[in-house]
Symmetry: C2
Subunit: 177 residues, 2 copies
Amino acid sequence: MADRNGKDAKPIRTALSSEDGIDLAIIELLFFAYRDFTSDPDQILAEYGFGRAHHRILHFVNRMPGLTVAELLDVLKITKQSLARVLKQLIDTGHVIQIQGPRDRRQRELYPTEKGRALALDLARPQSRRISAALKSARTTERAGIEQFLKAMVNPELRAQIDNLPGNALRESHGDE
Amino acid sequence: MADRNGKDAKPIRTALSSEDGIDLAIIELLFFAYRDFTSDPDQILAEYGFGRAHHRILHFVNRMPGLTVAELLDVLKITKQSLARVLKQLIDTGHVIQIQGPRDRRQRELYPTEKGRALALDLARPQSRRISAALKSARTTERAGIEQFLKAMVNPELRAQIDNLPGNALRESHGDE
DNA sequence: AAAATATGTCAACAAGGCTGACATAAATTT
DNA sequence: AAATTTATGTCAGCCTTGTTGACATATTTT
């Protein structure tokens, strides 16, 4: 009757390692790399009382000006109620503006203001600098290999989200087209 | 008096692109890659009523068995109150156990149980599979280049956290030593 | 005219961060 | 031996950002 719920079990004292064929090195590298990659903009955002949610919205509104609320929801994969709260703050602070859709007047097209564009750039700059430095330090100037690897990490059915962004030369052959 | 707080400003209709020398391609690839990289374990965790916080704790307890609460806090960079809530659940469910430190009896050494080790492996497996597939698809079998890039993305002063993990052959020369 | 769609909004809830305050046991310092 | 510091635990409350469900409005489609 001991060990009813798994308590009072024995401790495992050996470290998990690459024994079971798990690629721990890259799993952990992705964790640490992403943690620090996001820390740069996080600091700037805090000055504005913003968070990562604001960053994501601001980034995609800048990358796809005029996208509708529904389109933004689709990229971010969150609910409209979640979006509304954060988007409202970006609108109230004059970083984003809404314009009634020209063909369908129910839609709200989202655009950055100059202020919003400037902030998006401020947030992107340290990330870009970090990437640039990392690319240099990786002796193998294998930028292409790194891009291919990262893209291949994305779910196949969602890779279109990448291809649909403007000026992304990173398109694979799609059979025809 | 118009434009008091940045509202009623003009919309910018041009998309942000690689104009200002910002590396948008890799910024976005990291975002999408990490989003999907974490989605695999997230699904499994949901079955247990766990979240990403549980995953992080479980991972590092498995990778550094016997580490103390203070050491874990240092790796995760969260407060002990945040840790306590989640760690308690892992202990109550028999995934992690605490053992009084042998030299310093104030310390609590954290160990995975068999159950905890099994779950950690279940969570790591799909991530490892995704990485393996991505490495294959990146024609350039430049694993080393990718590892170097990711490591170079981490804050220099925090790279020791990577080096201190067991069985990580990814050590740079540190001058002497 | 009726139904469907795009958006907004209200209310309530949860996870997982945070801070501040205080308690305990054990180690260290005086 | 006494006082202080350290490692940990815990209580209470707050914030952000996600969730669901319900309902309102304007506009487009059927």
